[in-house]
């Protein structure tokens, strides 16, 4: 988790706790891919993973009043996801895996490309592959200072202040560079979106 994630997550949680449902949507949009990836570790079938992910997210929403920010939101969400998956497997008469790291801390860092590739439909797989390669290709064409700024932020997880120090420029410049990098990449992604029945944001 990069610096700053916990702060914005907590802010969104507090808004959702005050009745702003959209704030919870933003958390879902941020973490549902990671949650799905985590669940695909335990459940192979793609539509089952979707069902369990949905159940976990609804459970999280209902339990949100009891979330007090003592752990990070994503750790809490992953734990709900793992419990939901375990219960699902038990209900289906399958044994929950015990040795593959049913653990929220580890879940953060696991890497399981192959499994995910297996369970995606060919179209979904093609789509996400295409989008990933657009991101990586556009990254290569970015002006050096934009590429460095977004790399330090997204990959190294540095704060704006740390990036400003590393790049020897004002914080406002860091902020603008990171935004321009994101926007340049997103502009290339947008033509690929909106081609499905699913709601694409």
């Amino acid at each position: 988790m990069a610096q700053g994630d916990r702060e914005i997550d907590q802010q969104l949680v507090e808004r959702a706790q005050k009745g702003d449902k959209r704030a919870f949507d933003l958390l879902v949009l941020k973490y549902q891919r990671k949650l799905t990836r985590l669940l695909s570790r335990f459940i192979r079938n793609a539509s089952e993973v979707d069902d369990v992910a949905q159940e976990a997210l609804i459970k999280a929403y209902r339990a949100l009043p009891s979330f007090r920010g003592e752990s990070a939101f994503y750790t809490w969400l992953y734990r709900i996801g793992i419990n939901t998956a375990k219960n699902y497997l038990v209900a289906m008469g399958r044994r929950a895996p015990t040795s593959t790291g049913l653990d929220a801390e580890e879940a953060e860092t696991f890497d399981d490309n192959d499994r995910l590739r297996d369970m995606n439909t060919p179209e979904a797989e093609l789509m996400s592959k295409q989008m990933a390669s657009v991101v990586n290709e556009t990254m290569r064409t970015l002006p050096e200072e934009l590429r460095t700024a977004i790399t330090l932020r997204e990959i190294e997880g540095l704060s704006y202040e740390e990036i400003a120090e590393a790049m020897n420029c004002p914080i406002g410049t860091v902020r603008s560079r990171i935004f321009r990098a994101r926007e340049t990449i997103a502009a290339q992604l947008r033509p690929l979106l909106g081609t499905s029945d699913d709601k694409r944001w």
Binding site: L26, S66, Y160, R182
Partner: protein, 162 residues
């Protein structure tokens, strides 16, 4: 400029009042929500995390929309650990007081709901909103607000995952 603010917001680098204003505006701004999602997707890809396309299925969106809106009691903002613990103790004491009050009042005359709610929400008016919002879950008693409050706490305890 607002888009740049959104980018800074994602990174937790926007001042609290700006963030608040932006988040409020985002409730009715699908384009901003789209940017939020795309920017996060870009981050996932750059970190080499296997990338699912940035979508929310219509089914999930509908299921979330169909959920009754939750409303949790407001917490003291930026409480220090010590203060948070003392508030929790205070909350427990308040809870015991409410239960005690209920136990006591059940053998005496029924208090008006508002009196009990006022006790329960000595620290926080949001509890009152919460009880009112969840009246539909309440069994038919002389004290609908109180009954639903107890019910809500029960659900929280059961669902708590930590």
């Amino acid at each position: 400029m607002e888009q740049e603010q959104l980018s800074a917001l994602m990174d937790g680098e926007l001042e609290a009042d700006h963030a608040d204003r932006l988040l409020r505006g985002m409730r009715d701004d699908p384009e901003a929500v789209a940017m939020w999602t795309q920017y996060h997707f870009i981050g996932d890809v750059l970190r080499g995390e296997p990338s699912l396309a940035p979508t929310m299925s219509a089914r999930l969106a509908a299921a979330l929309a169909a959920e009754p809106t939750i409303l949790a009691p407001r917490r003291a903002e930026r409480a220090t650990n010590t203060r948070r613990i003392s508030l929790q103790i205070a909350a427990s004491v308040a809870g015991v007081a409410v239960v005690g009050w209920l136990a006591f009042s059940s053998v005496n005359d029924q208090p008006k709901p508002d009196e009990v709610i006022a006790l329960a929400s000595a620290r926080d008016d949001a509890v009152r909103d919460l009880t009112r919002m969840h009246l539909e879950f309440s069994p038919h008693t002389a004290m609908p607000g109180v009954a639903s409050y107890i019910r809500t706490v029960g659900i929280n305890e059961r669902d708590r995952v930590r």
